[in-house]
């Protein structure tokens, strides 16, 4: 209780000193907490790219601070507190595991805005959440995977068994299956967001099983580097374009484009229109981009994939459109029904046809 008061009054002092009231602000200090290094070439790299877009958009009206490699847990709470004490006006916490620390620190600094990526807890008025509909990109990848596999075995390196990841796997599988009914999916759980050695091991395990198309939901380029070692194995850039593998195994990518959202939110803080939100944009909003599909993919497959992308963007097609059954055979979506967002955000089941269990 004591610290709560102490910190709150310290925060209040800072607010008064900087003259930041509900109206607009002359200058915003925007701070970012990263789970990996900015050089990971994937997830964190893209968030940092978004931060740099904020800098470019507002110039010296904004000051950017960031901290790399922050463990998800007790350390995150300290880093967030340091940032809030240090005068950050808005803090973006860019990994799921920062959910409880973000809300805990937000309670102590009611005047600092907190933005948590991929979470669902908004316990306080100053906490917003934002995410991107990556499953839309997975649908496009799944289609390419189904068409491209020669062994009919495709693989997926999963990070943690959370809805975010599970819906990506389901979307990937459904569209691969639609493109190629003979396809089989193997899922490897890495239990990490960023660990190049583990990610490479997972890719190797999949290749040893005869998998020739690998998708990953981890942050580094290691799966592509591993895929490059075996002739005929292809993969996708994850989170970032990973264009340096274009001559190698990378045939397309999902690019997380956080810049527009960051620019919008910091801008709202500058002009005084900032409100608490729960943002979930996809291909249509420009948050999810499909990276260039290379010439390794035949022209007709490429055209189909791009048509799929455009249909999702136009809102004429939803990647989860019934009939879809759950893995145990029970019905989930009826013919023509599309998945409600609530079902997706709490998704804890595989769809019918996927072999293997979600770790429980």
């Amino acid at each position: 209780m004591k610290r709560r008061n102490l910190l709150a009054s310290a925060a209040m002092g800072l607010m008064l000193a900087s003259g930041a009231f509900a109206q607009g602000m002359d200058k915003v200090k925007a701070c970012f907490v990263y789970v990996g290094p900015i050089g990971d070439g994937g997830w964190t790299f893209q968030h940092h790219d978004g931060a740099m877009q904020v800098q470019a958009a507002y110039g010296d009206k904004v000051e950017i601070q960031y901290q790399e490699n922050v463990p998800e847990g007790a350390d995150a709470e300290r880093v967030l507190t340091q940032m809030a004490l240090g005068g950050c006006n808005i803090i973006f916490t860019t990994s799921f595991g920062y959910m409880d620390p973000t809300n805990a620190v937000a309670a102590k600094f009611p005047d600092v805005k907190f933005e948590h990526a991929t979470g669902f807890k908004r316990d306080h008025a100053n906490v917003s959440t934002y995410n991107a509909r990556f499953y839309e990109g997975r649908a496009v990848q799944g289609h390419i995977a189904g068409k491209m596999t020669k062994s009919n075995k495709i693989g997926y390196i999963a990070s943690f068994p959370i809805p975010e990841v599970i819906m990506g796997i389901n979307s990937y599988y459904l569209h691969a299956k639609k493109a190629n009914p003979a396809v089989e999916l193997s899922v490897v759980w890495a239990f990490t967001w960023f660990d190049p050695a583990k990610e490479a091991d997972a890719a190797k395990a999949l290749i040893d099983q005869g998998v020739d198309v690998i998708a990953a939901h981890t942050d580094s380029t290691a799966p592509l580097a591993e895929a490059a070692k075996t002739e005929g194995v292809i993969g996708f850039g994850q989170a970032s374009d990973m264009a340096e593998y274009k001559d190698g195994p990378r045939v397309s990518s999902i690019i997380d484009n956080w810049g527009p959202y960051y620019v919008k939110r910091v801008g709202a803080l500058l002009d005084g229109t900032y409100e608490q939100i729960d943002a979930w944009e996809g291909i249509a909003g420009g948050e999810v981009l499909i990276g260039e599909i290379t010439d390794k993919v035949p022209a007709d497959v490429k055209a189909e994939a791009e048509a799929l992308r455009d249909a999702i963007a136009a809102g004429t097609y939803h990647p989860f459109t019934g009939p879809i059954n759950k893995q145990d055979g029970s019905a989930w979506l009826a013919e023509g029904a599309t998945a409600p967002d609530g079902d997706l955000l709490g998704m804890n089941f595989f769809v019918e046809g996927i072999v293997g269990d979600i770790p429980q």
Binding site: K2, A10, F160
Partner: protein, 361 residues
């Protein structure tokens, strides 16, 4: 060039001078590194070593030092007892995880009962979990003469798998919407390891660390078991003639270090971390090995070393956030500390001789 000559007896001076000299050398080499990166080295060093204790936000960061140092000290003291006896428990990280799981499981099993006894029972369960995990390499060593370094290290990975299982399965929060992780202890007062005195960051884990430091010091200097530990490390044969049973010593040292690591895990999961989650462990068990050596395997030295290590973490974060230093530079800086410590340590047992001075004697 120089020649190294073994000292007849280890130098008392260098034994105590090594850590401060290593810190100073780290500051100099680190400063050169930071300067090469275009930062003002004095500002960086000040941010790391001075600001957390005396700077603008010291009122908050001072408390964080003990929060960070507590588990390091607790684990390192246990490890140091074994290291002194030549018993190498490298798997404290696993024992830390198991202590957290055992203790948390007890608390979560009786959720949401409110009773004063719950937390003490959880503490015992935490120590038991760590002890049990350490007994596996201990008994394998005494029975089958396996290598405790390998077995205890490998068991870390087993513990991590059990941790993943716990947070996605048997300890998962039933109200967590399917997300991995247990209930948060911050909303369960009977099982919560809250702060006793917030400005100093003092929770029961910190108390345990400081008390253990004193007890371990008394054990080593005044108690028969402490004498046996030191003897076994310095002169195993003599120890055997003195009636010290190596098997009993292995079980004792592994058990103490396991129980202390388990305690650290329990205090962390119920306090600063708040919940069992897949990546609950952040390497305290491994960092504690550095702390043990930095503290010269002496309980009081370890207390100081724990705070120094915590300072490099907390201050390092400050430098990284406020001065825009990459995290990798901070890790290099921490690595330098261990490097210089080991390098300077040579002087405890050896001395430099210039070739010509041999003849000039």
């Amino acid at each position: 060039m120089f020649r190294l000559e073994k000292r007849p007896t280890p130098s008392k001076f260098w034994l105590y001078a090594t850590p401060p000299v290593a810190v100073i050398l780290t500051m100099i080499a680190g400063g050169i590194l930071f300067a090469a990166m275009g930062k003002n080295p004095f500002e960086v060093i000040r941010t790391i070593f001075w600001d957390p204790v005396f700077g603008e936000f010291a009122f908050y960061l001072r408390g964080q030092l003990l929060v960070k140092a507590g588990p390091l000290i607790l684990i390192a003291i246990g490890l140091a007892l074994g290291f002194r006896a030549g018993i190498w428990n490298i798997g404290a990280e696993g024992q830390y995880i198991m202590g957290a799981i055992f203790g948390a499981a007890v608390g979560l099993a009786v959720f949401p009962t409110e009773n004063r006894l719950i937390f003490p029972v959880m503490v015992i369960a935490g120590a038991f979990g760590g002890w049990l995990w350490a007994m596996i390499p201990a008994i394998l060593k005494t029975r089958f003469n396996t290598n405790e370094i390998l077995v205890s290290l490998m068991l870390v990975y087993v513990a991590e798998t059990i941790l993943a299982k716990a947070s996605t399965g048997f300890l998962k929060n039933p109200e967590g919407m399917g997300f991995p992780g247990s209930r948060n202890f911050s909303s369960y007062p009977a099982a919560q390891n809250g702060f006793i005195y917030e400005p100093l960051g003092l929770h029961w884990g910190g108390v345990a660390a400081l008390v253990t430091g004193v007890l371990a010091y008394i054990l080593l200097t005044r108690h028969q078991a402490g004498f046996q530990i030191k003897l076994a490390g310095q002169a195993p044969r003599a120890a055997r003639f003195h009636g010290v049973s190596p098997a009993r010593l292995v079980v004792l040292c592994m058990g103490i270090s396991g129980a202390l690591a388990g305690l650290a895990g329990l205090f962390e999961v119920t306090g600063p971390a708040g919940q069992i989650s897949i990546d609950f462990n952040t390497g305290y068990g491994f960092t504690a090995i550095i702390v043990a050596f930095l503290g010269r395997l002496n309980p009081l030295g370890i207390v100081l070393a724990g705070f120094l290590m915590a300072l490099t973490y907390v201050g390092g974060e400050m430098a990284s956030t406020n001065l825009g230093l990459p995290d990798a530079a901070i890790q290099v800086f921490q690595g330098m500390l261990l490097f210089f410590l080991l390098a300077v340590d040579v002087l405890t047992n050896y001395r430099f001789r210039l070739p010509f001075s041999v003849g000039a004697k």
